[in-house]
Symmetry: D2
Subunit: 477 residues, 4 copies
């Protein structure tokens, strides 16, 4: 997840719901299955944590998960959607087809040991600052539990695990979506490491990621600057224009950029400049409207500086279509499972992190948060799960794997993702997702209701990925 | 003159030239004539000084001069070139036709008494901060002197006085030039009040004066600014672009502007903005090249802000084509006349002004400055005499009417223009210009040489005024 | 009101509430009283509509209301808070003291006849485009009704009418608040013309209104621009800085400005520049935080341009502290009164306006809108009623006086404010406010509950006006 | 030399001077000496051309020259001024001490074969696009010739060769000057490859080279940009300020920059930004005045963006103090030597280059250009020879080593520097510099006159290098 989404959420203490205590044999079975495979799942997660491979470099991480799925009897297809580290593991046949996604890419430069004080495991190396090692293994654990029930004839249909790389960069799911790999799925699930535990009912921002380049004409900056056309002038004017546009976009819009090239040496009028920019809004329409203005701004800036400009779309996320029907089903299972309970050592670990981060030392929040109202606008952040949610109804869990009051995408999240705090969140997620999949396999009406809400919200829109044809560029960190 | 051109000139003390002391009866006659009419000329000058009428409002001033010319026997045509305050006074017939120009417009807001300390004559009123009251009367005095010689049969041809209004604003000469009023002239002369005395050998800057307007769409700035398109945003971007362009123009270019409209109230996204701007360079070609860039900048800025822009040319001056042959002839007459001599009271008056202005108290400089080399680039400033110099060879005198070390276009220049310091400069100019006209009437070879230099420098260029058809807009001060 | 606040409100059709039909003799009496005085109130309103006097110029309008109050037996104090057009009209004695406010200033430049097509009554004159002619008369009508009950001994305490000028400009209420004129009031009421009818439950934005001035050093822009320090450069940099700040303020913030001075003529480096600016946010704390950044931006811009800057606060509004207890009491009375019913002629009048405005021709909305949830952030707009709401619990009604789908602060609002559509809204407001005051006089517990909510929300904050000592500057339109 | 200085120079065909044909045995001897050592000098030059080592990496190049000097009997001190590639080679003793400088650093990225069409010798490698391979060897050849005369007792005093590295980057001479290595020299000489041949009489620009860094506070650009303080905002404002300053600096000033850091990824408010900038003017005072404004602009921009800024001076050149007395002495020797004569093959080589460069095919200009007037302002460009010229009188030759109408610092200059066209210029320079050194050793009055002009122009100024203590940073190309 590309943001600290949760920071803005109201953290209300878990309320006690009247819980349905009615027993369900299949649910009991999946809980049992996760417990049986527990050590294997932790081992996989820890291995991926140790590899800490960044986007599209997740060769060992991807193999770890795919090999395990294969060993468990899944039919595995590797290298899908032109990405060597993307794969699909499937079991069973026929309808319904329930999908579940797992991520496993790390973030560059935040290598960290599994300890409550900052210290790199491999200096300069990557780290799982978004907990994707847990994400992949946890989802696969849920898929395995369902597979066993299908194998035993207790559920009918297909379970399909999606190994989705590069969430932190190009958005691997978008390439898989573009290539139609989700088209036949009935319902899809995923989860994400977090600082609290609940069924997600908030959307995420739609986003477009693009490059603006300016090409001018070099000249000696002291001898004949009047013969030069500065690409950097054009870029500065473009940025001025973007900053003025801020007054004239809705409050839900976010625009941000980094200057990636702005001249080599002072004494040459620079002929090349480059900006990397994102535009986000609550809905894709809003993004398109602003992006259209940004295109004009680039053209206008180039005209002003007497140079050329080009805009190249790199990728783009859709906003998440929240499925409250699905979320409500998931939430019931969370409440059945009850809160995640921590040992005094784990709480102390969390408090040390909070101390080191200068945050209030409140420990860990394992309580199940009540289902929240869906806000009109999401807080700032985007995810490629959004794209999937426009093809198939999507149900998302967030589960605690780290304490609050410390920076997400930082060393402390890496630390927790490599020890028991993270493991507990992962196993909880495995169980909760598997239970919800039991509901979806068993309950046709639930599938219909989930689909009906999806169709109503999608409102006939036909998904089209932002990305062009061909494989994604491999990022260089 | 729209500048403190002289401030940048090297002030070398007058050297003593070997002067031709050969007597010329006609030159003696014109000197005598100016002395005979001296009190009348001073009276006219003082009257115009008192009227202090600004551009295109010079009704009384223009009448003062035209009536005197008529009384002296000139054939006067009033209201030429669609300007009620422009006129031509002519005497004689046939070739050669020698022209001489006089200005008489004041500057707004600098009313001042004829005293060495700052005090308005009429609070808020105009003042002759560029000494044009002297300019008009001085030139007319020279024309009268020549007229007498033609009348007496001592010179053959036509003397023509041009009453040229609005130099400080739209440039009356440009309208007269556009309408062909200078086309049949052989040589034209003018002079300008200054802080030193010499034949002018420096050019002035070519210039274009234009308005840039931006039109957007209003919206409530708090309730729905996203529905507005800010004209002020476009203007700010335009100005950013202009300021970036400065790196990429030659050092001789000058660009400057004033913001004339930028929104009424904060709580409305402004739908209108307006900039008044000038671009100058040493030559018209340079101005055109930069102006072309500025047009693109306005278009680009409008595109960036999602609005419309328009550029309207108001007027434009050509650079002055220096005629060194003519200047050399004039310079000889200056040297014949010798320096302007001041009384102790006048010197004290000047020093008080310098004291009040915080400048060094060096008094007045009545010495004849030697002819200077023509610099590659003029110092900053423009004049509508430049336009005339592309139609007919132009000879320009500058004569001391105020002390140095005080701001031109300021109260102190007004003060001196209304008392004996100014009068002395004016009478000196009358004599010097009349003497040079005697040379031009008597000496066909001189006329040919002056014309030859002119043709060589003009190099086939056909003059075309910047201004559109129709009369000038009357400025509102 | 300085905004189209209502445009962003959800316009839900009036639902039918189970209305308490229990009779209340005092409520019946005030309804009757308004009906008795109906023609007088309309006459006053129409007179003020005709005067159309703008802020602090409302001499005749203010007199119209004050004279009527005096005639009705109120004790009138004119010229309070150093404003000749502010007054207080009081009747009764002792506690409780219930206040009610009335405005009467017009907007410049939107003179309009009482007809459904655009045509000025007095070309260039002002107009009641915010319906304040109705506001003043309507509130006074309610006060008169209460006065009669006190006079008859049916209610005990004091009724106090506040004649509050200049809402559209400096904010007259702020001056009255600063001078302590509201300190002893128990509850205060007001209403505002609108396109719908309901008890207001939305806040308004806190705001600060200030001037930023830049002072540099003039120089000739062509001859020696290097000796100048451009005030306009400083202003442009300031605005660049403000536009960059937009990325780093919360989405609820609004910043907007108008350039009021930016140079006189192009050929002088400008020594003076001036921006008029507003900063708004949902709460005063937010405004203060942003304003503090803006002050640094002005200082930094001045340092960059080598000039001086000064910031002068003109005025500032507090956000409105919504009192839901009071609003609920008011809402009950609205529902008792039932919807405003229009004649076919009135509906046709409204539709013609909507046609002329290019809006959907839906006619008038006289239905009582249900009480709305209070949004976290108000939509964009501010009012000086906000200041009063921090001194005393404030209850605000909005009542339909104009159709939707046409611009507020425009000719069509003026038109309706001068004929029966406006009159109906005004009389409805008189009745509803008087009924609610009956509740407040009769029901001590209601007063206590209203006060309790107020104290809780105010949370110990001591009101301090933004404005300095002394009388307000009289605006020049 | 960091510029195309010569492009702006008027290229007047060589006029024929009345040349003194009086024989001078020592001058004949030095000419002979250069001819004797000719093949060695060419070999050294070609070796350095092949190494093409960039600034402070010139280990082999420096060794090539130092070893040869040592072999010729000079006392060599290597690694002076904390630079391993700087050295001094000295011969003789006592006064006068005549210095001569040689450079040998190449430019990165312009590797080229010695052929008239563009083709890299080593792809991506450096190249002698400023002809410094010729510069070092040519100067050393002159020093060797003088050494032989001292050795033979025909001249008395000391000859000292300065091996000065890194002219194209940090300016090695500035470090040597800072460390006092030129303090005891009577007169110093140097030359530079060029497109024409003359004694240099034009100054170069004073310059300061500095880094501006901005440090803000990171935040998630979508989730809470209001908690970030963007370093890039500060940088953009700084650049806006610099671009506005352009209007208010003299036409001789040049300011130019490259953006070296401007954010890593769009979704983080950038906490770091960096600009590399140069300010130049005709005189150091002018540079200081502008630099002082730039410092304020950086401070103001940081204040506006709520961040920190720091400015770090990297280096700075003084303007060259032209010594016309010395130049006149040099010019006489040039005229004695007469023009450089080219073969038809060399002319054809030059024309092919001009064809490939799109320039007029005028061939080579080997004529001796007449001594030019010293312009008020140099054309744009700077050199660290400027620093030396403030410590000791400096005489500079420019000699043709490449054709005109092609870009300096480009492949064509590399090509010529590696074949006979370059060699001819180098040998001509050796002879001319040696002859002028003969004059300086033999003629005490000449030394006095040269010194007198120097002292008059230096006017008591005590040289202080821009650079801090310690060795220079080694550039990474």
């Amino acid at each position: 997840m590309k943001l600290f989404r949760f920071l803005a959420l109201v953290l209300i203490a878990s309320s006690v719901f009247a819980q349905s205590k009615k027993s369900s044999p299949n649910k009991d079975a999946v809980i049992k299955s996760v417990e049986v495979h527990q050590q294997e799942l932790i081992k996989i997660s820890d291995a991926i944590w140790g590899y800490a491979e960044t986007a599209l470099q997740e060769h060992k991480s991807s193999k770890e998960l795919a090999d395990y799925a294969e060993k468990q009897g899944f039919k595995v297809t590797r290298g899908v959607a032109q990405m060597p580290t993307a794969f699909i593991a499937e079991f069973g046949s026929g309808k319904p087809i329930i999908g579940i996604m797992g991520e496993y890419d790390a973030l560059p430069g935040i290598s960290q040991k599994a300890q409550p004080t900052k210290e790199a495991l491999h200096t300069g190396g990557g780290g799982h600052g978004c907990g994707h090692n847990l994400f992949g293994a946890g989802s696969l654990g849920a898929a395995v539990a369902i597979k066993e029930l299908i194998q035993q004839g207790k559920l009918k249909g297909t379970i399909r695990f999606y190994g989705t790389p590069a969430e932190e960069a190009v958005g691997g799911k978008i390439y898989m979506a573009r290539d139609g790999l989700f088209n036949d799925v009935d319902v899809c699930l995923d989860w994400h490491p977090d600082i609290e535990t609940t069924a997600l009912t908030q959307s995420s921002q739609a986003m477009v990621d693009f490059i603006v380049e300016f090409k001018g004409k070099a000249a000696h900056a002291a001898a004949d600057p009047w013969n030069g056309r500065s690409a950097v002038d054009g870029m500065e004017l473009f940025l001025d224009g973007v900053n003025m546009l801020r007054e004239h976009v809705k409050p839900s819009v976010r625009m941000h950029y980094a200057i990636k090239a702005g001249g080599d040496v002072p004494n040459v009028v620079p002929e090349y400049a480059k900006v990397w920019m994102w535009v986000r809004d609550s809905k894709r329409d809003g993004v398109e409207a602003v992006f259209s203005r940004v295109k004009d701004i680039a053209k206008g800036a180039a005209l002003m500086a007497g140079i050329e400009s080009t805009i190249t779309i790199q990728t783009g996320d859709y906003e998440l279509l929240v499925n409250r029907t699905g979320a409500t089903a998931l939430q019931k299972n969370l409440e059945k499972l009850g809160p995640i309970i921590y040992t005094p050592e784990e709480i102390s670990f969390a408090k040390k992190i909070q101390e080191a981060s200068g945050g209030e030392q409140v420990g860990l929040n394992g309580a199940i948060q009540p289902l929240k109202e869906t806000e009109k606008d999401p807080s700032g952040g985007s995810t490629d799960v959004g794209d999937i949610s426009w093809i198939v109804p999507e149900i998302t869990l967030v589960a605690t794997t780290a304490p609050e009051n410390t920076a997400w995408h930082g060393w402390s999240v890496v630390a927790c993702a490599g020890m028991s705090i993270g493991h507990k969140g992962m196993l909880f997620a495995s169980k909760a997702l598997a239970m919800t999949m039991v509901d979806l396999f068993e309950n046709e009406q639930l599938r219909k209701d989930v689909r009906a809400e999806f169709e109503k919200k999608r409102n006939g829109h036909v998904y089209k990925a932002y990305i062009p044809d061909g494989p994604p560029p491999v990022p260089t960190n």
